[in-house]
């Protein structure tokens, strides 16, 4: 228990958990640059439906992705209480619109159960595992896949 907050020693990752729609997700906290409230974005013409637009993050132009729509959970209606998680994936900065950020948990790699193959739903593609505990089921996002998909689509578009 002493090591709970020391992921390096326990071989654990810290994960940030957040809710999208009615479901709970998590991602590696090291990818997260910052969390900020919703501000108006500039719509990108001819972009995929889940790319809400771009916003100004201290001088950088950052695309904002509606995670709910991307995961096939229906479009999220952006509101002031929604949250944007700014993640740095490789050299690419992307913002994900989520319903709310809830907690930071630490989990060892063995805590993550691989996702059983249940058919190629959008969510299935972007979730690489599940952390099940007594109170909740956390879906671990495959961020690399998400980022790749965003770039790919923008190139097609």
């Amino acid at each position: 228990m002493i090591h709970e907050n020391d992921p390096a020693r326990a071989g654990k990752h810290e994960l940030i958990t957040f809710s999208v729609g009615q479901q709970d997700f998590c991602m590696d906290i090291m990818l997260v640059r910052e969390i900020r409230g919703w501000t108006n974005v500039t719509v990108l013409p001819h972009s995929p439906a889940d790319v809400l637009g771009v916003m100004n993050l201290r001088g950088a132009v950052v695309p904002i992705v509606d995670l709910s729509a991307r995961l096939g959970l229906g479009a999220c209606r952006p509101e002031a209480r929604n949250v944007i998680i700014i993640a740095l994936i490789g050299r690419q900065t992307v913002g994900f619109l989520v319903t709310a950020v809830s907690d930071i948990v630490s989990a060892a790699p063995e805590d993550i159960q691989p996702l059983p193959q249940v058919g190629g739903t959008a969510a299935g593609n972007y979730v690489k595992g599940i952390i099940a505990s007594r109170h909740q089921t956390l879906r671990v996002l495959n961020i690399d896949m998400l980022a790749a998909a965003i770039t790919e689509e923008s190139e097609v578009a």
Binding site: V43, L44, H46, T93
Partner: protein, 663 residues
Amino acid sequence: MRSGKLHLTPEILRVFYRAADRLADLVALGADDEMWDEPALRRQIDEILALSCAAEPAAASPASPDDSGDAAADGDLLAQFTPTALDFSFVPPGQEAAAFRRHRITFAPTAELFANGHEPVHLFRELAALGELNVEAQLDAAAAWDADAPAIVWTLTLDTAQTRTEIQEIFEFAEPFAEIRIEEDGHDPAGTESGTSGSDALAPERAPAPGAMADIASNDPVPIDMQPLSTGPAGPARGTEQVDAPQGAADRAQPDKAVKTGSRATVRVDLELVDALINMVGELVITQSVMNQSIVEAGLASDRRMASTLEEFRTLTRQIQEGVMAIRAQSVKPLFQRMGRIVRETAQIAEKNVRFVTEGEDTEVDRTVIERLVDPLTHILRNAIDHGLEHAERRRAAGKDPTGTVTLSAAHRSGRVVIEVKDDGGGVDRDKVLASAIAKGLVPANANLSPAEIDRLLFTPGFSTASKVTNLSGRGVGMDVVNNEIRSLGGRVAIISEPGQGTTISISLPLTLAVLDGMIVDVGGQTMVVPISAIVETIRPQPSQLHWIGPEARMISVRDLMIPVIDLAAVFDYAGGSGALEREGVLLLVENDRGEQRALAVDRIHDQRQVVIKSLESNYGHVPYVAAATILGDGQIALIVDLDEITQGTPALPTPPQARKSA
């Protein structure tokens, strides 16, 4: 030659360049402590001697590089020159330049040197690292000691394998504040004081020829004056510059460009620091306009003091921005010099006589732009010589000077830099181009193209006019690569060809990659930026001016010219909706690089201002019809319209991978 007695012929030039190359090789070899190819060198020296002797039989001090391959041929040619004694007192340093040499350095610091925090000891220490150093201080003047006026003059003797350049680099920062004199002792460590009268005058021109012309000539030491150091690789090549093209070899033989600024003090800064500064200034500009806007919105702008302070702040910000941009700007001269070399090499391979003319070398362009221009320009120049210029016989037959001319020019034109490569060759062979394009399936066989459109085909991917693969072109990299490269710099390439008269390829580039003068407009409820450079005029159209052509297309007649109207909101598929013209919108008359005009319908013009360009590609990707993004005064992002893409008709939109948002 410099005194105009020996006229420059292409043969001699070539010889000189070969000699300059040899010198550069020698220096490189020497630096690596390797042996040079003695026989080859000897041969070349003989050739040089042959030439100069032929040129100036009376002159006792011959020292001009040449090549015997041409020497025989040159003999006749040179015999025509008046054999006057040429004051050519060329005193090259010995061949040992590359090996250990003794440098005698006189170092007389001024008060400023110390005031600027320099300390001679550090300099000496660095020198000592180069070789064996002996320091002597002359204390004569020190008797009349004055704390504020340094009186000690040092004489340093340094035995080193390093070139003079290296020594100069050590003194680079101290140079403006001290009198520095470096003398090389060559073979003769004793004869230092001489600094012969004749060679003094010539010194600046001959200076950077370490290991030059080898062991032909005298043992005299060569005094080098730090201040007016030239960049010429060797005397003769330098001489060519006045007659003909700037020499590209300079870059090779004389890497230390910084010194050439003469007495002006310079600072070397890491490029990243400058870039970081530019980014921050960009932020400052944005913050400034955010502040401006919020003050106006808060109704405080009417306060007179506030208004004037605000105005002052704005001017300052702008000035800072311009100043920072100027740091990155560089003259195109080094680039042009490099190109001069490429032209000569190409001409030699293509066996064509080419006169290379450069204009506007002092034009300043952003550093990044210069770097990225090298490949496209090389390609264009090679094309111009290989394909553009005809062979001498054909030129003669056409009644033209058998020597072709290729002009490379740079100029500032309405906020952009225009670089032109002009040849006086045969122009684009349009029949051949069209036939080739049809054969390659790039255009339909029955296509009816205008001459300009045919010229434009050269830039189509997969097109290459070279009927045979030569050393120079036809390696699969076509003009389309040039086009792409220039476009990625925010520039455009245009081609103008006149059959029998030649071809001009002009590259128009933004001054910097970071800022753009834009018109802020409202398009279907979204704010967008249209580059002002392309806007010809703005029109509030009268209904009578507008004409429907079919159900979709619309034209506006401006001074009896019918111009297609493009509804921007429709192009971008904005929910605010098309039909700006129905809502009393405004038309922006824009012109693309092919001189075609289009009228863009927008809802409203807000403002006109300089915007900082932010890439969309780095975090997202390409957006159709959008060149980049920028951040407006209110912190919101606005998209910059890509006029080229919009005016190029309507390229087919790719089918979306999934349902498009109806935004």
